[in-house]
Every structure is written in structure tokens, then in C-alpha cells.
């Protein structure tokens, strides 16, 4: 017969100080783990949610990023005539030739300068990105208006606006060969576009001496099958020497930017977890030691050794759960906090938000339970193996 769990709950409540301190210790480890997992979750989301599955990105063959691309403008009309491209508002094929450059902006909080991606695009580029499809939310204008073709105007993402100085509507940004007026702010829903500044492609190309070519081209396909076909067609055409990517695949590859955080996270989480396991073990040993006579009594009443073993492991798990809950509650205020790291592919800053997803919370609980289990097993074993007679006498 199993020992009722209320016995464990009561015991934890009886030694409040000890319980709270041990749980807090576990909570701290859990907090650190959540923090690191939330960073990675946010970063992954920035890349995974980026790009529309219907957009085909065209780069020079052999180049893996827009920044290291670049092809002759004479190839662009050929791309426009490919079959399977959706029509824009004017009834023309929806395509956009673009330039991507990286500029340096000072952080608002004065912690240094950061590389930010600036993208020059055609009107179709804007139209394409505002489209929402199943499973993909388009970019939305939240303030001001979009930039106008032929003007030295830019729109910035919400997070660029909040993280950098001179990024409010009406401000001017200095880059290239002069100043650019900020006319609008857009919301890219936490995607990689959230780290970008957009403007007119021709204005940008002349500022960066890049006329006569494009870094990349975007083609909007009519449907997923057409997108796949477009991608293959661009890549297989020997004359073009270009390569097509489905935009979502292109960004999914960039998640490798989180590698340093993962390495650090693993080392830190692992070391802290071992520390917590020993602390939990200590508490549970103490719990067993205080209750030597009690355990013996339980045995005399007829509870079996496995029942006692289970009961103490359960108590340790309860303690860990308490710690996990405290850890999650402690970390919740940080959910959504924005931060940035360097994109390993584009060398520019990726802005992302800490995301405590149910999955992160689930892993945190699992992590705590493992700590509780490992920490509780030895003391529980000790409790179950105790000699009844000597324990009753003590």
C-alpha cells in the first residue's frame, strides 16, 4: 500500500524554512536554465518565423547570404518572366530586386555600436511582405507611413525604434552618403525583419555605389508547388548562374547564430544542476534523519520498503516542483524582454525577445524533476533500508 502524498506535503510544510531554502536553491538553477532556454527559443523564433513559404529568394550561385551575394541587373528582367509568379496590384509579376547593406548604429542605452541591416527594395517588395498567408503573418505598419519610391526615406522596425537612437518618426538617420528621414514604423512579429531598416532600392544602391546590380531578388509564387518549381528553375538555369531558396529555408539555416549561447547555456546549466542536486540530497538526508523513528513506525504499521522509497522520492520531487514553480514565476516578468545578438550569417544584429514558451516551462519542470529525482533517490533508499529496531530505539 502506498503512503498518501498528503503525508509528504505535511512534512514539507512542517519544516518550512528548510523547504523554502531548498526550493529556492532549485528555483535559482531553474531560473538560469529558463533564461538560457528562453533566449534560444526567442532566437529560433526570430529565424523560424521569418520568411514567407511562398517567397523565393534568388542569390548569386555559391553565395549563402544576401550580404555576400550580388548579380548583374541585366539578369533581373529574365527572372520577372519566369512562370508561376503571382501578380501585383498593377497586374505585373510580383518581384523585387533588393540591396542589403550593413550599417552601424549606436545603441540607445550607450552600450556601444551595433551592425544593423538596411534593405533597399522595390514597391513590390513592400507589397509582398505585407501579405499574410496561412501560418505566416505579414508585416504591418504600426505608425506613420511606408517610404516612397525615389525619396530618401526609410521605415524602421518596432524593435529598431526602441533600441536605437534617432529612430523615431521625423528623425533623420545618417548613413551612406547623407541623411535619411524616418517616416514609418513596422511590426514584423518577432521575425528576422524585426532587425531591419527598409528604404527604396535605387536610392540605397546609389548611396553605396552599387548601381547596375542587385544583392538578391524576391519572387512571389502563386502557390507552394509553384514556389518549389520556381526555386528549381532558377537554380537549374545554366545561363543565369543564380540560385533560388524558399525564403523560410533560408532563414531556418541562420539559427546557427545561437550556437555560442547554446554552448554557454549547456555548461552553466549543467554545473548549476549538479550543485542543486547535492543541495537537494542534503535536505532529503536531513528529512530522513529527523524522521528515523517515524519511518520505522510506518514500517511497523505495515508499509513496505518500496512504499517508503516511493514516498521519499515523491517528497523530493514535490520539493523540486515547488522550486520549478518559483523559478518560472521569478522569470515570467522577463518574458518578452528584447535583446540582440550577432547573426553569424549576416554579421548584423538580430533582435529577438526572450520567450518563455510552454515548451520552455515544460523543460524547466522536467529539469527540476530530474534534479529532485537524482537528489532524492539516495536518501530515500537510505530511509527504506533503515533497521526498524535500532531506528525505533534512537
Amino acid at each position: 500500500m502506498a503512503i498518501p502524498i498528503s503525508y509528504n506535503v505535511r512534512n514539507l510544510r512542517l519544516r518550512k524554512g528548510l523547504t523554502i531554502m531548498t526550493a529556492l536553491g532549485i528555483a535559482l538553477t531553474v531560473t538560469t536554465a529558463i533564461f538560457l532556454m528562453a533566449l534560444i527559443a526567442g532566437l529560433n523564433r526570430a529565424f523560424v518565423s521569418s520568411g514567407n513559404p511562398l517567397n523565393v529568394l534568388v542569390l548569386r550561385k555559391g553565395s549563402e547570404a544576401e550580404l555576400s551575394g550580388g548579380f548583374d541587373a541585366s539578369l533581373y528582367p529574365t527572372l520577372k518572366t519566369l512562370p508561376g509568379i503571382a501578380k501585383d496590384k498593377q497586374g505585373e509579376p510580383m518581384t523585387s530586386g533588393e540591396w542589403v547593406v550593413v550599417i552601424i548604429l549606436p545603441r540607445k542605452d550607450g552600450t556601444g555600436e551595433v551592425n544593423v541591416t538596411v534593405r533597399g527594395m522595390m514597391p513590390d517588395g513592400l507589397e509582398m511582405r505585407q501579405l499574410s498567408d496561412p501560418g505566416h503573418r505579414g508585416v504591418k505598419l504600426v505608425e506613420g507611413r511606408w517610404f516612397q519610391t525615389g525619396q530618401r526615406e526609410v521605415v524602421v522596425s518596432k524593435s529598431i525604434q526602441s533600441r536605437f537612437s534617432h529612430a523615431n518618426i521625423g528623425d533623420t538617420m545618417e548613413f551612406g552618403k547623407g541623411s535619411w528621414k524616418v517616416v514609418g514604423v513596422f511590426d514584423a512579429g518577432g521575425s528576422a525583419y524585426e532587425s531591419e531598416v527598409w528604404g527604396d532600392v535605387n536610392q540605397m544602391a546609389s548611396d553605396f555605389d552599387r548601381q547596375g546590380g542587385f544583392a538578391s531578388a524576391y519572387l512571389r509564387a502563386t502557390d507552394p508547388i509553384a514556389a518549389e518549381a520556381l526555386k528549381n528553375r532558377v537554380s537549374d538555369d545554366q545561363r543565369l548562374k543564380l540560385e533560388g531558396f524558399i525564403e523560410t529555408d533560408y532563414y531556418a539555416k541562420q539559427t546557427s547564430s545561437g550556437a555560442p549561447i547554446k554552448v554557454i547555456g549547456f555548461v552553466v546549466g549543467f554545473i548549476m544542476a549538479i550543485g542543486s542536486i547535492f543541495a537537494a540530497m542534503n535536505t532529503m538526508y536531513a528529512a530522513v534523519a529527523y524522521r528515523g523513528r517515524e519511518i520505522a513506525t510506518l514500517r511497523v504499521i505495515g508499509f513496505s520498503r518500496p512504499a517508503i522509497l516511493t514516498s521519499f522520492v515523491l517528497e523530493s520531487l514535490l520539493l523540486a516542483l515547488l522550486g520549478a514553480a518559483a523559478g518560472i514565476v521569478l522569470m515570467l516578468p522577463f518574458n518578452g524582454m528584447q535583446t540582440g545578438t550577432s547573426n553569424a550569417v549576416t554579421f548584423s544584429e538580430v533582435v529577438f525577445a526572450l520567450r518563455i514558451t510552454p515548451q520552455v516551462a515544460g523543460y524547466a519542470i522536467l529539469f527540476a524533476l530530474i534534479m529532485g529525482f537524482v537528489g532524492g533517490l539516495a536518501p530515500a533508499w537510505h530511509a527504506a533500508r533503515q533497521n526498524i529496531l535500532s531506528a525505533l530505539r534512537s
Binding site: 528548510l18 529556492l24 531560473t31 553565395s63 550593413v102 554545473i271 543541495a279 545578438t341 550577432s342 554579421f347
Partner: protein
Amino acid sequence: MDYATSGEVMTLGSFVVRNAFRNKRRSLLTMISISFSLLLLTLMICIWRSFYVDQVAPEAARRLIVRDRVSLAFFLPAYYRDKIRSVPGVMAVAPLTWFGGRYMDDRPEHFFAQMATDPDEYLKVASDKIVPPEQVKAWQQDRAGALVDVTLANKYGWKLGDRITLQANIFPTNLDLTIRAIYHRDPPQNALYFNAKYLEEAVPWFKGQAGWYAAQIDSADLVARAAHEIDDMFHNSPLQTKTESEKAFQLGFVASLGNVKAFILSICGAVVFAIMLVSANTMAMSVRSRTREVAVLKTLGFTRQRVLSIFVSESVALALAGGLLGVLVAIPVIAGLTHRFIGLGIPLDMKVNVVTGGLSLLVALILGVVSGYLPAYKASHMNIVEGLRHIG
């Protein structure tokens, strides 16, 4: 207690130590728990020190990196090299270009830095790299030759004369290289250098460009002025430059990872707090189980201060023992991690020395005092009669 019968003189110190380790299992678990936290703390301190405190070697301090102001992704024209050379104090200038290819496969452990440079001048700039003269000559004579770090060569079992292929990512050509020279440097660097002319032959559009320039300056006093002069010289050029010391250049990569300082500090905070909880917890347990003993001590005439100091000392002894263990474990762990980081291309030179180890122990000491104080205070203010009646 059989101290008296054994004829041993019971001093306060040995009393404290004996008590601290009386419950062996509890003390051991506490020590191990504290030691892991302190291991992490030592690691963080070492990272901090390597990033923000350590001064570089004198030759490295006289080395400037000139790169495009906006981004490393943009190349600088070749004629910049001669212009940089004309700046007073500049002794040698070498072009460097990140090739960013892959060796064998995409696995991160197979990643290492590959740079195109000018073999005739590169070693004048990188004077901290030690290469046998005949190997330098061989490297300079073979256009498809490569200079590699000794740890990198050992990792893959490369010997002089071995041929390797680097698959291109950024440039549209793979490179077939022959190992011609192997360099020693402290700390090791995990890098490979080859002739930029070889890359230019294969990639015509790359001709006349370089990713960045490394310049060696005559004397340390001229470094700051030279950096200014170089940037001023290119101020009105289409491609403006950013000139900074090698250390600042590397720190730029660290800064781009995010708010590293806050990150390290918050982990340290969590660790310190965790140690405090563990240690306070143990002391609370210890005091609780010795309630009657404390009462006896007080009846024997021990003052409150004495009892307080006994318990605080016990806590300190435990924390210090855990700290010492942590620092000792940290030495090999950090050496291993440094090796791994360098393998991943992160130039982290971490070592546990007297300062970093001492700092960790100091933290342990302070934490021992703080965490032991509350339980000790409780013990010292205990009512003697109740304490004697206590059934523990």
C-alpha cells in the same frame, strides 16, 4: 566525547573543524554543492578577466586592425595598404581576408579560421607567431602553401607537405592547399593562413582587395596617434575605415554577441545566491540538531559571542573547504574549456591564477560569514533551559 581521554588539547580551532565535519555526509554534500557553484563562479571571473581586464602582450598591443567602418563584410581596396604604410610609426602592413570555408564537413568542431594574407609580410606583423625560417621560406615560395597553428595541425594529424582541401562558402572556389609551415603561439589560435594571390587567381573579382589590414606600429606611444591618422586619411574616401587595437577588434565580436557583461554578472549573482542558500541551509540543520549541545556549552560558561563565533566559523570552514575544492576542480575544467573555445574560434585565454582563485575563495569566505550568521545568532540567543529539554 572522547577528546579528553585521547589526551588531545582541544583548541577552539580544532573544535570548529571537528564540528564542521562531524556529520560527514552532510558536510560532504554541502561542500560538493558549494564547490560546483564556485567552479561556475571561477569560470565567470576568468571569462570576465580574459575579456575586460587582461592586458595583451606588448607586440599585440602595438598591432592595429584597419577595417571598413561599416562592416567586415566589405572589402578594402589594395591601395589602402601603401597609404597605411606611409603613416608615421607603421612598420609593416599585411592584408587579411576571411575565407570562411569548411574543412571536411559543417560540424562546428571542424570549424577553424582561414585567412588569405601576404606571406612576405604577414610574419612581420604577427611577430608572436614562431615559425622555423626554412618553413617560412617554403611557405613564401609555394603559392598554394599554408601556414597552420601547431594545435590545429596536431588535431588533424597534418604534417609538412600534406595536402588539404577547403570548401568555399563565401568565395566561389574551393582551395587545394599544401601545408608548408607550422607556427607556435601562446595561447594557440586554431587558424590557417594562405597566400591571397592564390585566391585572386581563382576569383578574379577579389583581385585588389582585402578584408582588413593588420599594421605593426613602432612603439606603444605611437599606437593611438597612428590609429587616428589612418582613419582621418580615409575619412573622405568612399570606404571609411575603423582602426582599433587587436584586442578591441576581438572585443567587438564579443560585444556583438549581446550584453555579455550583464549576462556574466547575472549568472554570478544567481550562483552567489545559490551558495548562500545551500550554506545557510546546512548551518540551520546543524544548529537544529545540536540544540541541546549549545545549551550545554552555555551552561559551561561560553558567552553568546563565543557561541556565535563558533557557528560562524563552522560555516566559514565549510564554505572555504567547498570553495577550495571548486577552485581546484576549476583549473582542469577551465583549461579544457579554453581549449574547446579556441577550437571553436573564440579567442578566450582563461587561466585560473592566484587572483581569480583568490577572488573566488574570498567570495566563499564572505558567503560563509553571511550565511552562517542567522542560524548562529539563533543558536547564541537560545534559552538554556528550553535547549536542554529539547529532544532532537
